[in-house]
């Protein structure tokens, strides 16, 4: 045995170590980390020690491992969505202030909407911000707003791969939703997670009219007023797009 009995490179292993943390978990025991990353304990230990030396990980006493503050800093400083967030933030604040609703901003990654920023509704404790959270395209207004404005090819590809694990939604329903969204220019969707909330989202386009994000709100069922919400969102979305150009 020498370099990697399992036939993977050092880079692969570094990635596996970072990916080993399950969602929302900040601390892992070294043994468990090695397990999850599929690495021999001594290899995991060596990698973690090296990475923690540079501050990308944090190896505490007793073998507790966390992501390093330095890694968090580096990634957020040079985030690939930095320009988008910078452009969007003032508009999101406006919406939060004027409409007093939860505002969120998402981008498309694979067949899911990835939430990049989220401002919670003033005064409401519900709807905890899930920045860096994901939602499948077909059950989120942001996801539908994003997908409905992608190229025909990508949409076809998506529908081909489509399969609802819950089995509640068929590809045809999704096709219909996408068509409707594309035609209307916004998406409204009864909350699938919380039955008492609605999601409304609109696409954000850059200078070249390419849809790069979705801007949305989550509102209590009782306060659902499309007439007020949609124009406000669309105006903000255009503002963001202009800012990006």
């Amino acid at each position: 045995m020498a370099n990697s009995a399992s036939g993977d490179s050092v880079v692969d292993r570094v990635v596996r170590v970072i990916e080993a943390f399950p969602e929302g978990v900040t601390t892992l025991q070294l043994t468990e980390l090695a397990d999850r990353a599929g690495l021999p304990l001594s290899s995991a230990h060596r990698l973690v020690r090296q990475l923690s030396h540079h501050g990308l990980l944090d190896l505490g006493a007793g073998g507790t491992v966390r992501l390093g503050l330095r890694l968090w800093e580096l990634v957020n400083r040079n985030s690939p969505t930095l320009a988008l967030r910078t452009a969007a933030m003032p508009f999101m604040e406006d919406i939060q202030q004027v409409l007093n609703q939860n505002v969120n901003l998402a981008v498309l990654d694979g067949w899911e909407a990835l939430f990049v920023e989220r401002l919670s509704r003033r005064g409401s404790v519900a709807n905890r911000a899930q920045i860096a959270g994901r939602m499948p395209v077909h059950i989120s207004s942001a996801g539908l707003a994003l997908m409905s404005h992608q190229s025909r090819e990508l949409q076809a590809e998506y529908l081909r791969h489509f399969n609802d694990p819950a089995g509640k939604v068929s590809a045809d329903v999704v096709r219909h939703l996408l068509a409707e969204a594309a035609q209307q220019g916004y998406v409204q969707l009864a909350g699938v997670v919380d039955p008492d909330t609605w999601g409304i989202a609109v696409p954000v386009m850059n200078g070249k009219r390419k849809t790069i994000a979705a801007l949305g709100v989550v509102v209590p069922l009782a306060e659902m007023r499309l007439q007020a919400l949609v124009p406000a969102l669309q105006t903000a979305a255009r503002g963001i797009g202009r800012q990006l150009a």
Copy 2:
């Protein structure tokens, strides 16, 4: 030559690649990246390609390199400050709402305050949120609030290393500021960056009375009202600490 003519490990190099991005820069040309990371072009190219294969980096056509969306997601999902931010967010929102001021949350990293979260003042465009930004301890209210509640040893160590690049502040002045801060339980500091603003910060302590963060506001000079601000901040800080226990 074989493995690394420069005597560094693969892990070192991966770290250097990620660290190569200057603050606020999201895109780098491959050649420039190799340059900044101090790597031979072909090595840099290989590493970037491997990393982008896993989504930690994003190697676009023409050799443009960015941090990967997946890396951003992983780091923010499992952020080492997740518990702190989750506990602090509702209180920060309260302050933003009640006092209508810029609120921020910082932790101590080395001899600097690292800003972990920041809510901008409603309606104000100024004071752009600099999440993941840093400020030296001696010129930020958050930094002073943090350092003034650390152990005697750490403070001594800090003062020993202290050296103001600008040469405006002496170690003795900082010593005085720290002593005052420790005694008062809060810090007020005339904005060093912007002369028209004040910073006020208080320490956030966990269940064991260890100071783990600083909660602060940045207010326009004209609206400086310590009587209203300090108690609100202290109350919120205690609330956050309780939440963490």
